[in-house]
């Protein structure tokens, strides 16, 4: 450190400073430690390592979409219309240009405002989710979208991050007032959403919503006996889904018994292993052209073929690094709401990544689930940007504050 003068430890109030603060008398150069503008404070408060990891992930995503784009373009092209091979890459760049600023803007919100945004947005997208069965657009046999063309959006994708923050806020109320029936309330809300999603049908999202609720319950201190019971009920639900929910039946059949049309699974395996350890090289993949949904659900297999299984392992490690980074930082956090919200957000993010990679490696039956920040998709990317923005906003903390040691006994007996 060049600066050998001890800095005074003081709490910086992130209020009332202009975002791009001009020449304040006590401001140092832009983004220096002495910069007291809101942007400077944001820069020093935000989790920069996490931001870097997300940037790497988004960059990898663009490369992967570039590899998968010709496949999707070839699939969509007809005799009459030809779609440029890199069409989906250009679209994805557009989405990134929207999603990244959205993420940064949300990350600049103070905690209270972020919470308020999440609660209002939850109401809006919940309303939209209710409208899906009425106004929805059906794609690939599932009515998940509202609107059409560029303005087509998938309410469940947006609802996901906002919902979990709202849920966290609801649960954190219990700390203030023990008498509030927050657990039954949150359970009812989750159940309603799950039923709406199953109706679309969208089993993957249902699992993500339910498991993020469960994680919040666990972190909020639910006894393990009840947690065990709930997991058992969840498994029973899956088994009953297998017997009574046709989509689940066929997919689980294919996965477990290799029955029925295992076309997707075989093609994914062929693509994933097609390039061996180090891959065929960018653009040299062949098996990828046989993949359905190469740019979304099976983009991990495209990466496997062109960049090798080593790259796949590296991406899995990158996701793990993000998850660990966020969870470890939560250990310094004392606010119940923040812990719950951030844990929920990172569970959604990590859970989605793990389910997608597990599907691609044939550990799970196939389901429509994108790989966060790597798969192509506007709704998914912007929703992820908003979710990560919330996460970044909530994990902002004064770098000069250190965690109060919890094992410090306040009440010696």
């Amino acid at each position: 450190m060049s600066d050998d003068r001890p800095q005074p430890r003081r709490r910086v109030a992130p209020v009332a400073a202009p975002l791009f603060g001009g020449a304040k008398p006590h401001s140092g150069p832009r983004l220096s430690r002495a910069d007291r503008s809101a942007l400077g404070i944001w820069f020093w408060e935000i989790d920069r390592v996490l931001l870097l990891l997300l940037t790497i992930l988004i960059a990898i995503g663009l490369v992967a979409v570039a590899a998968a784009s010709p496949v999707a373009a070839a699939k969509q092209s007809t005799a009459a219309t030809t779609i440029a091979p890199l069409y989906y890459l250009y679209r994805q760049i557009l989405w990134v240009l929207l999603a990244v600023p959205a993420m940064l803007v949300v990350s600049m919100l103070p905690r209270a405002q972020a919470r308020r945004l999440a609660i209002y947005a939850t109401l809006v997208f919940l309303a939209l989710l209710f409208l899906v069965p009425i106004l929805g657009t059906t794609v690939n046999g599932a009515a998940r979208w509202i609107g059409s063309g560029v303005f087509r959006l998938q309410p469940s994708e947006f609802l996901k991050p906002f919902f979990v923050v709202t849920l966290a806020w609801t649960l954190s109320l219990k700390v203030e007032d023990d008498s509030l029936p927050v657990v039954p309330l949150s359970f009812a809300l989750t159940t309603v959403i799950a039923l709406l999603l199953l109706n679309q049908p969208d089993l993957g999202q249902t699992i993500i919503f339910c498991s993020s609720w469960l994680v919040l319950m666990v972190v909020a201190g639910m006894s393990f006996r009840i947690v065990g019971g709930l997991i058992g009920a969840g498994l029973a639900g899956l088994v009953s889904a297998y017997f009574f929910y046709p989509v689940a039946t066929t997919r689980i059949d294919i996965w477990l018994f290799g029955e029925g049309d295992s076309f997707q699974v075989e093609k994914a395996h062929a693509a994933l292993t097609g390039g061996g350890l180090i891959g065929t090289g960018p653009g040299a993949g062949i098996a990828k052209f046989a993949l359905p949904e190469a740019h979304t659900d099976y983009i991990f297999s495209v990466i496997g073929e062109e960049f090798g299984l080593i790259a796949c392992v590296a991406i899995a490690c990158l996701y793990l690094a993000i998850i660990i980074r966020v969870l470890l930082r939560l250990l310094d956090e004392e606010d119940q709401f923040t812990i719950l919200a951030v844990a929920g957000l990172v569970t959604q993010f990590g859970g989605q990544a793990i389910i997608n990679m597990a599907v691609n490696t044939q550990l799970f039956p196939s389901k429509g689930m994108t790989l966060p920040f790597i798969s192509y998709g506007g709704s998914s990317l912007i929703a992820l940007g908003l979710g990560m923005g919330l996460l970044l906003s909530l994990t902002r903390r004064n770098p000069y504050l250190s965690r109060s040691t919890l094992d410090n006994d306040w009440n010696p007996q």
């Binding site: 075989e266 994914a268 299984l309 392992v313 793990l320 660990i324 919890l406 306040w410």
Partner: protein
């Protein structure tokens, strides 16, 4: 905890919050561990795909691992034919981005065997066409590096023969439609392409080490003797399994070029030869069986050519004296063999040849089998000439199978190219009596010890066999200077296990064979070399102290005074 009651509410709330926080942090760490485990499982699975693709997994990705056509392996599992994914090179002219002239020149530089003009014509055509039906990975990489999007590299199934020309005639090859054209590929086409069976390789009786030895020794002899071709077989006498089957010149099944039809002929099963003197042991064996030859010491007149009507049977080397049976075989006398056959009559000889299958295509799974030239009418003369292998033309495989029966105790087994489990071999057919076979083992061994086959005597391997040098039939008679020299042998003679046959087509008498063209100088050394090389591989230990007991026959050989 009872003391908690005494605390003020505010403090209790703080304590609760504190505990809740600790619980939350604890559970966050559990959550983190779960994530770590999940990622480790996914990463491990991914790496497992890279190193051990178990091909079943939980899905059925493994079905890609079942080849489109079954592999062919030798009896020890050495791959002889496999199906691989190869590249081909295709052009879609409508998508070309670069100057076709330049592309054509670049392609011609990568594939020097095709001219730039040919490529130009193809890439400026209207429709997508194949530029190369097969391309090596490095060629594909080079073409890809041209950066042209109009090229495609479809993967195509290709039949690969990793041992190159080894056993090419046995294996055959497949056509563009992936169906067998000749050889095992043709004979077992159904089996090889059956979806239910193609996961399992087809196991041949061929031993690739034996096959390679046979080919290399035959090739050496063929080149040194300036011969037109050569053929050889190694046959298991107790099951009919073919351990080696070579036909020279060879061809490369990986690269089938038009116009090499002659080389693709399997001389062992498809070429007919008058195999000459090698028939004599068969005739004499039959004569012993039916009691025409009762004593080894009985002598026959070999002082002069045998006149039958207008025809005279000569010996190539007139001994000028009377010969007994062992001497007949040792000196390979046509005259005496014809006398014995004459005495035996036509019926038994014809019956013998029929029971050995000489009247039909050789018994083996291959489709390329020639129908023998069977005498149209069996007169007295025919009986006499066929007894020493003239006037009847069979394939080398016929002869090898017959010798198997002659030495193994008298049981004839049809030859097979499939590996046969011990004890599962088909029931054979008795052709000679045990006693005849035992006597014949002595006689064949004597030919190698004392007679025309001395150059086949691999020390310690107890080789026994018979030479045969037949003149090739040509327009209007026999070509006196083009011989087919055959040596058919079995070893070890005290308990025969393998028949080894070597045949040289039109050897030249040169320095390599001391100016001789006959089998004793051309084919016999091949058998010796083959036996010396394959014997130890097949578990036959050379032993100078063991041999067939010849003591009852040795005294019958006349030797000039002075020689003991």
């Amino acid at each position: 905890m009872t003391t908690l009651v005494a605390r003020p509410d505010r403090v209790r709330l703080a304590g609760q919050r504190q505990r809740a926080m600790m619980t939350a942090h604890q559970r966050l760490m559990i959550l983190m561990l779960l994530f770590i485990v999940a990622i480790i499982v996914i990463g491990g699975r991914t790496l497992a795909f890279a190193f051990i693709d178990d091909a079943h997994g939980s899905g059925r990705g493994g079905s890609a691992m079942i080849p489109a056509r079954a592999d062919i392996v030798d009896r020890n599992g050495v791959p002889l034919a496999r199906t691989i994914d190869a590249y081909s090179l295709r052009v879609v002219p409508s998508r070309l981005m670069n100057d076709p002239r330049r592309l054509a020149a670049d392609l011609a530089a990568i594939f020097p065997d095709t001219s730039a003009d040919t490529f130009y014509a193809k890439i400026t055509g209207k429709n997508p066409t194949l530029l190369r039906r097969r391309a090596l990975p490095e060629e594909v990489a080079a073409v890809n590096a041209l950066g042209e999007v109009g090229f495609e590299y479809p993967r195509v199934k290709e039949r690969l023969y990793p041992q190159h020309t080894l056993a090419a005639h046995v294996l055959g090859f497949t056509g563009a439609d992936h169906r067998g054209v000749i050889g095992v590929e043709k004979a077992f086409d159904e089996r090889l392409s059956d979806p239910a069976l193609r996961g399992e390789p087809l196991v041949l009786s061929i031993d690739s080490r034996v096959q390679a030895t046979l080919e290399s020794e035959l090739y050496t002899a063929m080149v040194n003797l300036e011969a037109q071709g050569a053929a050889g077989i190694v046959l298991d006498v107790s099951s009919g399994e073919v351990l080696g089957m070579a036909s020279l010149p060879v061809f490369n099944p990986n690269k089938i070029v038009s116009g090499s039809n002659a080389a693709r002929k399997n001389a062992v099963t498809y070429n007919l030869y008058e195999l000459g003197s090698t028939f004599k042991p068969l005739t004499i064996g039959k004569a012993m069986d039916i009691g025409v030859v009762t004593s080894m010491s009985r002598r026959y007149d070999a002082t002069k050519p045998l006149k039958v009507g207008r025809f005279a049977i000569h010996d190539s080397h007139n001994m000028g004296r009377w010969l007994n049976v062992p001497e007949t075989l040792i000196h390979s006398s046509n005259v005496v063999t014809a006398q014995i056959a004459d005495e035996m009559g036509q019926a038994p000889l014809e019956q013998l040849f029929r029971s050995l299958g000489f009247d039909n295509r050789p018994q083996i799974e291959l489709k390329e089998r020639a129908f023998p030239l069977w005498p149209r009418s069996w007169g007295r003369l025919t009986t006499m000439t066929t007894s020493y292998g003239h006037g009847i033309a069979v394939t080398p495989l016929h002869l090898a199978s017959a010798y198997g029966a002659l030495v193994n105790g008298g049981t004839f087994y049809p030859a097979t190219l499939l590996k046969t489990e011990r004890g599962r071999q088909p029931a054979g057919k008795r052709v000679f009596s045990e006693a005849t076979s035992a006597r014949m083992r002595q006689l064949l061994r004597m030919i190698v010890v004392d007679g025309t086959g001395t150059k086949a005597d691999a020390p310690g391997f107890r080789v026994g066999g018979k030479t045969g040098s037949a003149e090739k039939p040509s327009a209007g008679g026999y070509a006196h200077h083009s011989l087919v020299s055959t040596f058919v042998a079995a070893f070890p003679m005290d308990n025969p296990r393998y028949v080894v046959l070597a045949m040289i087509d039109e050897p030249k008498g040169n320095a390599y064979s001391s100016g001789q063209r006959t089998a004793g100088w051309t084919a016999a050394p091949v058998v010796r070399n083959v036996v010396m090389r394959i014997g130890p591989m097949l578990g036959i230990i050379p032993d100078q102290n063991r041999d067939v007991d010849l003591s009852d026959l040795e005294p019958l050989l006349w030797k000039p005074k002075g020689e003991n």
